[in-house]
């Protein structure tokens, strides 16, 4: 197990925060918030008597899914690809930053950003939540964000530049986002969605908006646990074989 030096970890995290707030990356979190707001307006406009909690939940779930997949998969992979494209990754690795420090330093800011955006999205739609509901929403969001970020790192390993990252992550983003989004329109999609961590996130938001007592069931917890472990295991296998650069 590699040692984590806090001064190196914090330096990498600060650099990644600057990356997130650069124009190439901040668009994704902002777009997710904007999309949530627009969905709220659309549902409000087409519903008699104004938007209700269930529709608020739907709008929030769409925004949260877009944020988790877009920021988690695209932004994380593109940030890693950018480091390779600009040759800064090699400089970092030959400046005594180890793989674990880089991994955590890259993931934590993005996961933090995803959580923050999900909180803002919830405030934007105005869905009232109890403490338990907030805990469930943030807990599932956190696990989904971590899973997506690890998947993003995997894609990043195989992306030599940001354009490639954008190309290779799009199909995965679409599957992870669209299947839960359209789950209520198609039985097969609904079934598949139940086995995706993004589907678990969406169902949790729907359960909150419908004021159900059980927000997350055993199967959902098992799905998200298995997928987070699978993502990390997959990352470790690929990292050991390629490092952060498969080229």
């Amino acid at each position: 197990m590699k040692t984590i030096h806090m001064h190196k970890l914090s330096a990498v995290m600060e650099m990644k925060l600057k990356t997130i707030f650069s124009k190439n990356f901040i668009i994704m979190p902002l777009f997710s918030i904007g999309f949530t707001f627009i969905m709220k307006l659309v549902y409000g406009a087409v519903t008699e008597g104004g938007i209700n909690d269930v529709l608020c939940g739907l709008a929030l779930s769409y925004g949260a899914l877009m944020n988790i997949t877009g920021t988690g998969i695209y932004c994380v992979s593109a940030a890693l690809a950018e480091e390779k494209e600009k040759h800064t990754l090699r400089v970092l690795m030959t400046s005594s930053v180890n793989g674990l420090e880089f991994f955590l330093g890259s993931l934590i800011p993005f996961v933090g950003m995803m959580l923050a955006v999900n909180v803002v999205a919830a405030l934007v739609v105005g869905l009232s939540m109890t403490g338990v509901q907030w805990a469930a929403y943030l807990g599932v969001s956190l696990l989904a964000a971590v899973t997506c970020a690890v998947v993003g790192m995997i894609f990043g390993i195989f992306s030599k530049n940001q354009v490639t990252a954008s190309t290779v992550t799009t199909p995965a983003m679409l599957v992870l986002m669209m299947v839960p989004m359209f789950g209520n329109l198609n039985k097969t999609m609904e079934t598949i969605s139940g086995f995706l961590f993004t589907g678990v996130l969406q169902q949790t938001v729907v359960n909150i908006s419908q004021r159900k007592d059980q927000l997350v069931n055993g199967l959902s917890i098992a799905v998200i646990a298995v997928e987070i472990v699978a993502a990390v295991a997959c990352f470790l296998v690929i990292y050991r074989r390629n490092g952060y650069d498969s080229q």
Binding site: R90, S95, V97
Partner: protein, 283 residues
């Protein structure tokens, strides 16, 4: 005897069974500059990557500060600095922010950055975005970043390639200063003048193999087989005389009659030595 800063023993490297380095040996001591001189594709960059633990050799042993490259972890990079042909700077950040980032990672007092920028002539550009620097300024920033933590060994891969002569001279001056401060410098170049000027020892690398090794002066004298002299006469005429008894007498006569304006030995340059040894030009 003190431990060599770099010791490479019988290093070979193959890519897809294609040999890139063949039985390479090298030693670098404290306060020395060792130059690896060779054309593109000779294996210079591969050598640096192996010596800095970025690439595993196919066979052979390499030691950096006494540690075998197979046993090195990332902490070794706190004692070495690397300048490659790719800048690897954060273009969005300013010159100062780039150095501050690495100062944090390498636990260097940020108060030392201004002094370093002054030393490399970039102090007035400290707030400029790194992406807007000229090539020469960029290379000075990369050099500043590489020596920020006062490493014991500095690796330089073609540090002056494509730079204007005055910037190259500035970099040469800095490297000489660093060497005098005790830093060991491993330099790859295809610029024979640079190697002759800076290096204590040079290794001529051709097709992954060291074909000659020694001090620049030793190598030039070793291949000074013709022992010829260029004589410039007061009349403007130029003579090239081989060292024969007849020419010695003739030269003596010319000097006695005060006809000699200048006299130069014609020992070969590193470039001509390389050409003699390999039949190839460096560039």
């Amino acid at each position: 005897m003190t431990e060599a800063y770099i010791r490479a023993e019988h290093i070979t490297k193959q890519y897809d069974k294609e040999p890139v380095l063949k039985d390479l040996n090298a030693v670098l001591q404290k306060g020395e500059i060792l130059g690896f001189l060779g054309p593109s594709g000779a294996g210079k960059t591969t050598t640096i990557k192996i010596l800095t633990g970025q690439l595993k050799p196919t066979s052979g042993d390499a030691y950096l500060l006494g540690i075998h490259v197979k046993n090195m972890d990332e902490t070794i990079y706190e004692q070495i600095g690397i300048v490659t042909d790719q800048s690897g700077v954060y273009e969005r950040l300013s010159v100062y922010e780039n150095l501050k980032y690495f100062a944090r990672i390498l636990r260097v007092d940020a108060g030392e950055i201004d002094g370093l920028l002054q030393r490399v002539g970039l102090l007035e550009h400290k707030k400029k975005a790194a992406g807007k620097l000229s090539k020469g300024q960029m290379q000075r920033l990369v050099l500043a970043r590489a020596v920020l933590h006062k490493p014991r060994i500095l690796f330089l891969d073609e540090p002056t390639s494509g730079l204007d002569p005055s910037t190259a001279l500035e970099i040469h001056r800095m490297l000489t200063e660093l060497k005098n401060e005790g830093m060991a410098i491993f330099l790859t170049t295809h610029n024979m003048e640079e190697a002759a000027k800076l290096c204590d020892h040079v290794a001529l690398l051709n097709d992954g193999q060291i074909v000659e090794y020694g001090t620049p002066k030793e190598l030039c004298l070793r291949y000074n087989r013709d022992k010829r002299y260029r004589v410039l006469l007061e009349s403007g005429e130029e003579l090239v005389l081989a060292q024969t008894q007849e020419n010695v007498d003739r030269l003596s006569e010319l000097m006695k009659s005060n006809q000699v304006a200048a006299l130069h030995s014609c020992e070969p340059t590193l470039e001509s030595v390389f050409l003699t040894v390999t039949g190839r030009k460096l560039q």
